[in-house]
């Protein structure tokens, strides 16, 4: 029986515990939060035996095999380092760390200690994402991806989570290097990173604050982001994050030399795009029929998965956790290659450093303008 502990008892911890409790051969033996009441409420709702307000106490009392870190990202590195040094395997929620060098250090530490570590990129393990991976691996695209488009949008309602960030200049999300983007975009970036073959792609970034947020007096939060990623004139990718575009997409399109694929994360549909055209007017009439057939096929699969009781909103998380535990028990490689975790962190570092440079140069360009206006 694998003993599991949770550190950080906020919203995402609920998803972790409910998915872990669906997996055979493991048990959540303790939870921890620096606010002991938060740990207590999680225990109470999920019938977990022990709760702690102190991490060293949790480790020494329940001796977990695996620790899931579900705290705000600023403390991921410190907590993960501590847990690895205590001999625990570690699952770190996204974003893995604040900076790429922290990600490097954690992976090095895990390797040195002969332990395993993974990042919470669970969107890559939903049913539909796994179907897509199987098709790509089977050579459906041709010789790998030529171009990718990853959309990861976020409806920024001015209440709730977003309202709290916008209204509170001290909110912890604002203190992240990439602020709001840092806490959201890693799923969309990781999708691209999975299919890149080189380690240092070129990243070109354009970001700005949407008119809606500017009208609310917001100047720090960037909620519109466009990124071009390219590697050695081989593969290119566009990444789009938007709080304003509708529909608010979570979509991945990948085009190879032979065919393409469109994955819609919200609808859990996967559509094959033929690389060849039909002749003349046939192209106008037959593809709509074949597309309709594909959508019906997706409906059948989704219904089947639903009836098989495996269509939870976080089914990707369950698969990732289960695969991670399996890799621990079997001594096989973890489900997300370390290279992919590092590449995601590297691209995110590059995005945030360019955005910071962009805002600094914008601030500098405003100074002479203000000075001339003062004259």
């Amino acid at each position: 029986m694998l003993k599991v502990a949770i550190v950080g008892c906020g919203k995402i911890a609920d998803s972790h515990v409910s998915q872990i409790q669906r997996i055979k051969g493991c048990e959540v033996v303790g939870v921890c939060d620096k606010e002991p009441l938060m740990a207590k409420q999680l225990c109470e709702r999920f019938s977990i035996k022990r709760n702690f307000g102190d991490l060293p106490e949790l480790i020494s009392e329940v001796h977990p095999d695996v620790v899931h870190i579900t705290t705000p990202p600023a403390v991921h590195f410190d907590i993960a380092s501590f847990c690895l040094k205590q001999g625990c395997h570690v699952y770190v929620e996204k974003p893995f760390t604040l900076y790429e060098d922290e990600a490097h250090k954690l992976i090095e530490l895990a390797t040195d200690e002969n332990l395993k570590i993974t990042a919470g990129h669970d969107d890559q393990f939903t049913h539909v994402a796994r179907r897509m991976r199987t098709l790509v691996q089977s050579g459906f695209l041709g010789d790998g991806p030529v171009h990718m488009e990853s959309y990861y949008c976020y409806e920024l309602a001015l209440t709730g989570y977003a309202g709290a960030i916008l209204g509170d200049k001290q909110h912890w999300v604002r203190r992240l290097p990439g602020k709001l983007l840092h806490n959201i975009i890693s799923h969309g970036i990781a999708r691209i990173a999975e299919f890149l073959v080189t380690d240092s792609p070129q990243v070109i970034v354009h970001g700005f604050t949407s008119p809606l947020l500017r009208s609310r007096g917001e100047t720090e939060i960037i909620d519109e982001l466009r990124v071009i990623i390219s590697e050695e004139q081989r593969t290119t990718a566009y990444f789009t994050f938007s709080s304003q575009m509708r529909p608010s997409l979570h979509m991945f399109r990948v085009f190879g030399s032979r065919n393409g694929l469109v994955l819609d994360h919200d609808q859990e549909t996967l559509i094959k795009l033929r690389g060849t055209r039909l002749k003349s007017y046939v192209e106008k009439f037959v593809p709509p029929i074949t597309m309709a057939k594909q959508y019906l096929g997706n409906l059948r699969i989704n219904l089947g998965t639903f009836l098989a009781r495996d269509f939870q909103m976080k089914s990707g998380m369950k698969y990732l956790i289960e695969s991670f535990y399996q890799s621990i028990q079997d001594g096989t490689p973890p489900p997300i290659p370390y290279r992919e975790i590092l590449l995601t962190a590297r691209i995110m570092d590059s995005i945030f450093s360019q955005l910071n440079q962009q805002s600094e140069s914008e601030a500098r360009s405003h100074v002479p303008l203000l000075a001339s206006m003062a004259k």
Binding site: C9, G10, K11, A13, D14, S18, R22, E35, L37, M38, Q41, L42, E44, R45, T159, G160, G163, A164, L166, G167, D168, K169, Q170, F306, R309, F311, Q312
Partner: protein, 356 residues
């Protein structure tokens, strides 16, 4: 007036703290305090709160009252300590409303309340802590008096099974207040309003029905809806904070002449907008809740347990309500009749519709 002031536990210059002061009920609580002559108020508001209404009150009462706005976060202990300094009465209205996540609701209702109560222990002059709770805490399954729901009725013992983050947090919040009363002698009063309606909260109560599935499912039918107009509710909260001799008591707040769900819906359609609704008799709504609950269990949470028998008992079981205790012990009577309150509410709904 003189008699009523003698019955107050504090004088007009004693400092009063109102958390959630910029919220739907909070503004009316501040207005009621000013109307009763209290002139030393501290309004706790989050940095993101809209301050227009409180600022307007400040302008209007510049000469006769000191209204301090305290910007802070109840999750920060230091803010709670600073906000409760020299305070005589606390009206605690701030809570996590509309949260679907249990941890978020818990954090914004229970942790905040604990922080505030901890800060109270450092305040030597506190005379009352008024905890504004909700009807959501009642189980409504084993009532002492048949269909009558009053303050003697039991609260949820397993609120985590209701599938409703708000009621879970509210039950835990009340438990926290009682614990601090028992352990540390914090003088408290608990106020449990029914569904508070009025301009600013235009949503139709879930006790009438729900629009989740595309068509409005009318679930209340002949049930009485425990409405309380925002100003009536605010006055009840204020009086419960001031009246002598009611420490550790709990008061339900509902108005007189309450409409049935059917009457409410008919009036809404006549006065605001017409829409299609489908009435589900109680036996059917109970069965559907039961089936949903079982399916949620069977599918290991594939659908959230949002509809279940506990929720049905709390929301849609035929129930009568009483405000007798509030009237007899606190001396409250609704100043706005239900007919007048509904008129104002429908007007506000119409304005909202026309701007939509």
């Amino acid at each position: 007036m003189i008699r009523s002031k003698l019955e107050h536990i504090i004088g007009p210059d004693d400092l009063v703290l109102i958390t959630g002061a910029t919220g739907f009920i909070g503004v009316s609580v501040v207005e009621n305090l000013l109307r009763l002559g209290f002139r030393n108020l501290r309004c706790f508001a989050r940095p993101s709160s809209q301050m227009d209404k409180i600022e307007a009150l400040r302008r209007n009462h510049r000469a006769d009252a000191r209204i301090e706005v305290f910007r802070g976060n109840l999750l920060v202990s230091e803010d709670c300590v600073a906000a409760t300094k020299d305070v005589s009465v606390i009206f605690h209205l701030a809570a996590g409303r509309g949260e679907k996540s249990f941890p978020d609701a818990y954090m914004n209702s229970v942790i905040t309340t604990r922080n505030l109560l901890e800060a109270c222990l450092k305040t030597k002059c506190l005379k009352r802590f008024v905890n504004v709770s909700s009807f959501a805490v009642y189980t409504n399954t084993q009532k002492a008096h048949g269909r009558l729901l009053d303050e003697a009725c039991p609260t949820e013992t397993h609120p985590e099974l209701r599938g409703d983050a708000y009621s879970f947090a509210k039950v835990k919040q009340e438990q926290m207040v009682v614990e601090y009363g028992d352990k540390f002698g914090v003088p408290y009063v608990i106020v449990r309003p029914g569904h508070v309606y009025g301009p600013g909260n235009e949503a139709i109560s879930a006790r009438v029905g729900i629009g989740t599935f595309g068509v409005f499912l009318h679930l209340g039918g002949p049930n009485t809806i425990p409405l309380t107009y925002v100003d009536n509710c605010a006055e009840a909260i204020v009086l419960a904070g001031l009246k002598k001799g009611i420490d550790r008591e709990t008061f339900n707040v509902v108005d007189d002449d309450l409409p049935s769900s059917r009457q409410f819906l008919r009036l809404y359609k006549q006065n605001v907008t017409r829409f299609k609704s489908l009435y589900l008799p109680h036996a059917l709504s109970f069965t559907l809740c039961y089936l949903w609950e079982r399916f949620s269990e069977w599918s290991v949470g594939q659908v959230p347990p949002a509809f279940n028998r506990k929720r049905w008992h709390s929301f849609w079981k035929k129930t009568r309500y009483s405000n007798e205790k509030l009237k007899s012990r606190v001396g409250w009577a609704p100043q706005v009749s239900t007919a007048e309150g509904l008129g104002r509410y429908f007007e506000s709904c119409r304005n909202l519709e026309s701007h939509a």
